[in-house]
């Protein structure tokens, strides 16, 4: 058990964890709501250490991240647990854990930060991503690994629900290159229909902070679930937020929902719904709005906002054609803000 970062001690051997915006006050012997940070005798520890539940070499497009070293392979790691409980979670086998200690040791692979970086070099990955479940609760591990990864010239990617506090971003920001964040809705009520949280504005604040303070590359993902968060007027508010606070070149991924878990009775999102939202995004001034999880759809390609030519052709997570250089359009020279 490693001692946790980002917590403060309170009286009566209680601690307040300041890693995510729940800021749990944890009594001696208890855990936070994520279930993987535990108070032992007035000190907070993480139960996750180096326990990896799953890892794989993926193209960065799978995260999805489209405007950062397109086509590059990224070695991705996931652990156990989550601080959210989204209905219909695709990765519920690793995110919803109750009995942690025995699960973690029996079914995990222990891959230390050093080993993770070595593996990335071995597999010739261009970067490391923490994904599959929520990396925020794996903070200590991802922080150490990110520090080592940067030394080796690897890039680092957080595939996150955005629940990290500003203190968390302050700490890891210097070693983090990509913040690919889920913004699931643009109202407290809709957010709570997906997962109960106190204040979704904190997710927006954290994302803006990451970009402004550390110039971290941000991409926003919204998984559209029919009848739950598909209200186009509400999503218009989100489009405006991205344009005004993150920049009109920030990629927005509108992804198709597939039924899982307690949302198994819902249908997959109609493609027309996704197309309408994507078109609305462009109307509102965003330059790059993509549709995800619809294989072969033309909206998974990148079009130059100026000359309208297709500059990157993708097939699923594969980059098939790339007509950009130094982040600019090959045809007209327009700056697309693509990092490579």
């Amino acid at each position: 058990m490693d001692e946790a970062l980002l917590y403060e001690t309170l009286d009566g051997k209680r601690v307040r964890c300041n890693l995510c915006n729940f800021r749990c006050v944890i009594a001696d012997g208890k855990t936070g709501i994520c279930k993987v940070r535990i108070n032992k005798d007035g000190k907070l520890f993480t139960l996750l250490n180096s326990y990896v539940s799953s890892w794989a070499l993926d193209p960065i497009e799978k995260k999805p991240v489209f405007h950062f070293y397109p086509g590059s392979p990224v070695l991705s790691f996931g652990t156990w647990g989550c601080n959210f409980r989204c209905r219909g979670c695709q990765n519920y086998e690793i995110s919803r854990i109750n009995q942690f200690e025995s699960d973690l040791t029996l079914e995990s692979e222990s891959i230390t930060p050093d080993e993770a970086v070595k593996l990335a070099m071995e597999y010739k990955a261009k970067g490391i991503a923490w994904t599959y479940n929520e990396p925020t609760i794996w903070f200590e591990y991802t922080y150490k690994t990110a520090e080592l990864a940067k030394k080796k010239g690897l890039y680092t990617v957080y595939v996150t629900n955005g629940s990290m506090t500003k203190e968390g971003v302050e700490t890891i920001g210097q070693y983090l290159d990509v913040f690919r964040v889920d913004i699931k809705a643009f109202s407290q009520e809709t957010y709570n229909r997906i997962t109960p949280i106190f204040d979704f504005h904190k997710i927006l604040e954290t994302t803006v902070f990451a970009k402004e303070k550390f110039n971290i590359h941000v991409e926003v993902v919204t998984n559209i679930i029919p009848t739950i968060n598909d209200n186009i007027d509400e999503l218009r508010g989100l489009a405006n937020f991205i344009r005004d606070n993150l920049g009109k070149n920030t990629p927005w991924h509108i992804t198709r929902f597939y039924p899982y878990l307690d949302l198994s009775n819902l249908p997959p999102t109609p493609v027309e719904t996704l197309e309408n939202i994507r078109d609305m995004g462009l109307e509102e001034g965003l330059n790059f709005v993509y549709i995800g999880n619809v294989l072969g759809h033309p909206y998974e390609d990148t079009y130059c906002p100026k000359c309208k030519r297709r500059v990157i052709k993708r097939h699923g997570f594969q980059v098939v054609e790339n007509h950009t250089h130094d982040g600019k359009c090959d045809f007209c020279g327009e700056n697309l803000d693509i990092t490579e």
């Binding site: 009286d11 009566g12 749990c24 109960p196 106190f198």
Partner: protein, 129 residues
């Protein structure tokens, strides 16, 4: 010959029985301090946590209560209890304000959480609301 002519062994057993009876009763009396109040937090009808409600100033407790439906934060300070934040829609539990008397209850129906103050000394059986 006396009625109670007991052997040593029997005397010992008798003493043990009497002593344990006396101890048991006095322990019950000792720990039933009349003025103690307890905050009872129930989730979905089951006990979540029991916290003694002391009137000491300066001693604060924040508790994050978790249910299948969502969360709420309870603050206990200076002998008063209130809900400071909740993921429910109506936030009626927050509007309820603070409670401090035996029999008072704050209920968050959507979250299925109830916070009540119970005590030994109350003569109120229940409250109609």
């Amino acid at each position: 010959m006396g009625l109670l002519q007991l052997r040593t062994g029997d005397k010992i057993i008798l003493i043990i029985v009497i002593v344990s009876l006396v101890c048991g009763i006095s322990l019950r009396i000792l720990f039933a301090n009349g003025s103690s109040k307890i905050v009872l937090i129930m989730v979905d009808g089951k006990l979540f946590e029991e916290i003694p409600l002391s009137v000491n100033t300066g001693h604060n407790e924040d508790i994050l209560v978790e249910s299948k439906e969502g969360y709420l934060s309870v603050e206990i300070s200076n002998g008063k209890v209130r809900v400071t934040d909740s993921t429910c829609k109506d936030k009626l539990c927050i509007k309820e304000g603070e409670i401090s008397k035996v029999g008072d209850t704050i209920i968050c129906l959507p979250n299925r959480i109830s916070i009540s103050i119970i005590g030994e000394n109350s003569n109120i059986d229940t409250v109609s609301y």
